[in-house]
Amino acid sequence: MIAWIDTLIQGVLLGGFFALSGLGLSLSFGIMHIVNIAHGDFLVVAAYLCLVICGLFGLNPLLAIIIVIPLMFLFGYALQKTILNKGVDGGELSPLLITFGLSIILHNLLQEFFSADAKSLDVGAFEVASLNIGPLHIGWLPITILVTTLVVYYILHQIMESTKFGMIVRATVDDPEITSLMGVDTKKINCLGMGLSMTIVGIAGTLFGIKSSFFPLAGGLQLLFAFEAVIIGGMGSIWGTLLGGMSLGIAQTIGYRIGSGWGEFAGHLVFFLFLLLKPSGLLSKETQHA
């Protein structure tokens, strides 16, 4: 019994990370209609960026995140402005193929500059410290990640619902053509949207680098996890992605309990089951608006 409660808690904690990284993907799809294949690789890039910053200034990764975030925002803005906005005119598959190209280029560039060896971000004793409640040991790091995720979701929700920028973004999602007639440069909104998505990727990437070791090719799986969180949760729904991430986390933890090599498999399987049985996901756009 205790073991299963433990599994559930670990699953939710793991799911917190998937929900965070899924949120970035969900945003870029929701706002710009871009399925960003390089999403996981950008996550890894953020981790390397944090590594470099920590090395340069001797900072703790949790502090360096303050520098990582604006850099990732600028990167996302520039990426959208220079490349992706041009690709959008060619339909939704053109950005998919462009970001796929970027993904492969990043793999090889990272390999050239950082070698294929695994790296990690060091936060000292905090990494293994845990909260003990009776027989349960809950790591402070996963708790921090989950809390961060919830805070990011809350802030994003506030931005979308209560600011003028959020209103313009929602209008752009509804009808970009009419929004441009209202005097809005929707391509600029797309740039800001990608900046926002990359901001989240910056946070998630740093946390990813702290919680596990990373290497140039680590991004592919992270994309799949984020993607599965979005699909399980229901496309176009931000809160759905949160639930989707949790579900994926729980599925994976149960898989790991069954056999150490089967965690990811269980996650993929749950994803396929959702496709077959409930393709609209837990919360689809029709029922829930974020």
């Binding site: 399925v35 193929l97 796929f100 190209g101 280029i105 090889n108 699909i231 056999g259 498999f265 396929f272």
Partner: protein
């Protein structure tokens, strides 16, 4: 087309008669047939690699270029084809050259089984869904002793039963046969009534539905054909190297490679993948001293093509000189009326 088509003109349309394409292909086939007489083992291996990639690119192109279905999980079928070959010939002692086709069949079966789930995904989501499929199989193999787990399998013992002089050339003949088969299959598929239906699906699903084309069936058939061809090509590719492991075989880099090749050459044409494959091997052989930079260069060229020359190198050439070796598209002929 010299005139801007105007509302007031009348249309008629025709499929051009093929002449140049099949002739060039026949000449190429003759060249390839005599090639083993003077080619070294090394060049034969390279030829095998080229042909395997060629088949994969054609199969992806058939799927994406003609039906609009973009897959970035072709490594699923490549891996299953390759493992199908390795496992059957290691376990049953079946001739590995014949087992290539079993590999293709295994991939087709997986295609049939996974289609009900994958076909629920649209556009970009289909793309990632196919990738997840590849991951599923990678994990199964990683966790199965019989498939060599993480350390892989080798054909060394099997290949000893085959006379030395046929080891590389046997693979070559199978590869050549499949390449020619693939090109003719894709070509005739697209010129047939079925091909017309396939293009209708690509251009407009709604109108295809309204003229009674069963979209799902068309997509399903194309998907399975593509899976079979990709499976065979994967089997050839690893028959050529004799060694297999789940990391490389199910790597997404496979999909990247063949997609880049098609985009650079020209999506939606039969000629495009030819040009793209040649471009890739040219790049790889000339930049071989600089590590992985040739992949980076390939990716950059593919992105640039995507942005500025969406019809690829072949599209540029055929537009400039108005040539079309394998006319598969029905050309609309405008008459001023």
């Amino acid at each position: 087309m010299p005139d801007t088509p105007q509302v007031k003109s009348s249309f008629s349309w025709q499929i051009k008669k093929p002449i140049a394409g099949p002739i060039i292909l026949a000449l190429a086939a003759v060249f390839c047939a005599v090639f083993p007489l003077f080619g070294s083992t090394g060049t034969l291996r390279l030829m095998n690699e080229i042909m395997a990639l060629m088949i994969m690119a054609q199969a992806w192109n058939l799927l994406a270029g003609f039906t609009g279905f973009v897959s970035i999980g072709q490594q699923a079928f490549i891996g299953i084809g390759a493992y199908g070959l390795f496992v059957t010939s290691i376990e049953t002692g079946l001739n590995p050259f014949a087992a290539v086709f079993l590999g293709g069949l295994a991939a087709a079966v997986v295609g049939i089984l996974s289609a009900p789930a994958l076909f629920r995904l649209r556009g970009p989501y289909f793309a990632i869904g196919t990738w997840v499929l590849a991951e599923l199989f990678r994990i199964v193999i990683l966790n199965t002793q019989k498939f060599g787990s993480g350390s892989g399998l080798t054909l060394a013992r099997v290949i000893k039963t085959i006379p030395r002089e046929y080891r590389t050339s046997g693979t070559y003949w199978v590869a050549l046969f499949l390449t020619v088969f693939t090109i003719f299959l894709v070509y005739f598929l697209l010129r047939s009534r079925f091909g017309l239906a396939v293009r209708t699906v690509r251009d407009n699903e709604a109108s295809a539905e309204s003229v009674g084309v069963n979209i799902l069936r068309i997509k399903f058939i194309v998907f399975i054909i593509s899976a079979f061809l990709t499976g065979c090509a994967g089997a050839i590719s690893y028959l050529n190297t004799m060694f297999i492991n789940p990391y490389a075989t199910f790597s997404v880099e496979w999909s990247a490679l063949l997609i880049f090749v098609v985009i650079i050459g020209g999506i939606g044409t039969i000629e495009g993948p030819f040009i793209g494959v040649l471009f890739y091997f040219f790049l790889r052989e000339t930049l071989s001293d600089f590590g992985t930079w040739y992949i980076i260069a390939l990716g950059l060229v593919a992105i640039a093509m995507m942005l500025f020359v969406p019809n690829g190198l072949w599209g540029m050439v055929s537009k400039r000189f108005n040539i079309n070796l394998f006319p598969t598209g029905a050309t609309v002929v405008m008459k001023k009326g």
